[in-house]
């Protein structure tokens, strides 16, 4: 589904990504972790072309992201993305947030888009909030709406860029619950996160990055039981300490 082959990226002389390669197969959940500044957010933004890269190739559902001829809007319309800071559109009601892209990008009729949006809103447990604006919801609620907004586009896969990093601790679980459910339904997911509990529960593989390189790319069990690299061992020791 997502194939990342030898991707390198630099800003001027600063190397952000070096020769990154990994695969996400249909129905797989991949967790990408690593210390801050390791390039994991940059990598996931390369997958739907929000960040350009200079070398290598990323193929999503058979379409090359880096190819200048690729119709990126069309590709992105079916690759859901959830951001660290939610990025709901503050001037629109929750209902409008859920329907605007369905109408303007997919060309769905308004009532059909609204029906789909409200169904997903119900699924993330926020049906009663459809008329409100994003600023009137808590962070956890906003992030659940953001997930529903991405799902409303009927994505073939979902990208999560640190979806719980900006949340208060007591709101993290409500978002993770939605994500776990999604994973268990067989959604293809690439998730940048530090939530190792989530990784243990639903990930198939864990990709560990450090200084712009993929240091470790292993099945979940192997990654947690016997990380091969010293850097991953240190990282795990630190975040699993408490």
């Amino acid at each position: 589904m997502i194939s990342i082959r030898g991707v390198s990226k630099h800003y001027g002389s600063f190397q952000v990504l070096t020769d990154c390669s990994t695969e996400v197969n249909k129905g797989e959940v991949i967790v990408v972790c690593g210390p801050s500044g390791s390039g994991k957010s940059t990598l996931i933004k390369c997958v739907n072309g929000l960040e350009p890269f200079q070398q290598g190739e990323i193929v999503v559902n058979g379409i090359s992201v880096g190819d200048p001829k690729t119709n990126l809007p069309r590709l992105r319309a079916h690759v859901g993305m959830v951001f660290q800071h939610f990025e709901l559109f503050p001037h629109m009601s929750i209902a409008a947030n859920l329907t605007v892209a369905q109408e303007k990008v997919l060309g769905r009729p308004r009532d059909e888009a609204l029906e789909r949006g409200l169904k997903l809103l119900d699924r993330v447990g926020l049906k009663a909030h459809a008329h409100k604006h994003p600023g009137e919801l808590s962070g956890g609620q906003q992030q659940r709406v953001a997930i529903a907004r991405a799902l409303a586009m009927d994505p073939i896969c979902m990208l999560f860029d640190e979806p719980t990093s900006a949340l208060d601790p007591e709101m993290i679980n409500e978002v993770l619950d939605v994500m776990v459910e999604l994973a268990q339904e067989g959604m293809t997911m690439m998730v940048v996160t530090h939530e190792m509990g989530f990784a243990r529960k639903v990930a198939h593989r864990v990709v560990f990055m450090d200084q712009g390189r993929i240091v470790e790319d292993a099945a979940k069990e192997a990654f947690f039981a016997t990380p091969r690299s010293e850097r991953a061992q240190q990282f795990l020791a630190k975040i699993l300490h408490h």
Binding site: P73, R76, H85, F89, P90, K104, G135, M153
Partner: protein, 245 residues
């Protein structure tokens, strides 16, 4: 100071014979309002486009937009006005220039002043629009693009609606400035409010009454503009957002 107040001169028949001196002043008031509103409309349209271009990726368009802003913002308003009024007709093909000079002088003056104020103000509006767009969280653009919007759609549905709301307060003062700047049109002979005030002094020899009346009329415009812009602010307020509710 001994000054003989004669407010009643305002109601005396004016030298033109068809109205009172107050009538002259109200005619000037109408010209000021018409000129300023036309220029403001032009400034909003042009300034909006140029402000957006300043923020798009790609050097060519943002560079051209930056040059536009620098040109119209840095040349003094009066110089710009003289250029439009005195210089431009000379630069046109002679047949056009002659045709232009034979149109109604009021229209010539009004047109030059409107275009001048419109371009001058558009450069300032463009800067406000740019700063509004720049002040949005960077992730908003990504969120729009990630949903499959084109860049143009992302501006249309995601960035501009918020950016324009953010700049309503600074735009209010730009709007007020158009009315005040419109007084320079008196230098090319357009009989707008300030020019009528001066003409009244010449004819009635009552400078205080004339200019107090002019001042009150400008203040009246300000009151309306501020009330109008506050209405816009209230109507576009976003619930739950900073400054909202």
């Amino acid at each position: 100071m001994s000054y003989a107040w004669h407010w009643e001169v305002l109601l005396q028949p004016a030298a033109s014979g068809d109205t009172t001196y107050l009538g002259w002043m109200l005619a000037g008031f109408e010209t000021t309002v018409a000129l300023s509103l036309a220029a403001w409309l032009m400034a909003l349209l042009l300034g909006g486009m140029v402000g957006v271009l300043r923020t798009v990726p790609g050097r060519l368009w943002s560079g051209l937009a930056a040059a536009y802003v620098e040109l119209f913002r840095n040349v003094p308003l009066l110089v710009q006005l003289f250029s439009w009024y005195f210089v431009l007709p000379e630069l046109l093909p002679p047949a056009w220039g002659d045709a232009y000079k034979q149109t109604n002088p009021f229209l010539q003056q009004f047109f030059a002043a409107c275009v001048c104020l419109g371009f001058f103000t558009s450069a300032r509006v463009a800067e406000q629009v740019r700063s509004g767009i720049d002040s949005l969280p960077r992730g908003q653009k990504n969120a729009g693009l990630a949903l499959g919007f084109t860049l143009a759609q992302t501006y249309r549905y995601v960035m501009l609606p918020m950016a324009l709301r953010l700049i309503v307060p600074p735009l209010t003062s730009e709007f007020l400035n158009v009315f005040k700047n419109s007084a320079v049109a008196s230098t090319i002979g357009l009989l707008e409010l300030a020019a009528q005030g001066r003409q009244l002094v010449d004819y009635t020899a009552q400078p205080f009454e004339s200019f107090i009346a002019v001042t009150l009329l400008y203040m009246l415009i300000n009151v309306f503009v501020m009330a109008g812009m506050r209405w816009v602010e209230r109507k576009t307020r976003v619930p739950g957002y900073i400054g909202g509710k």
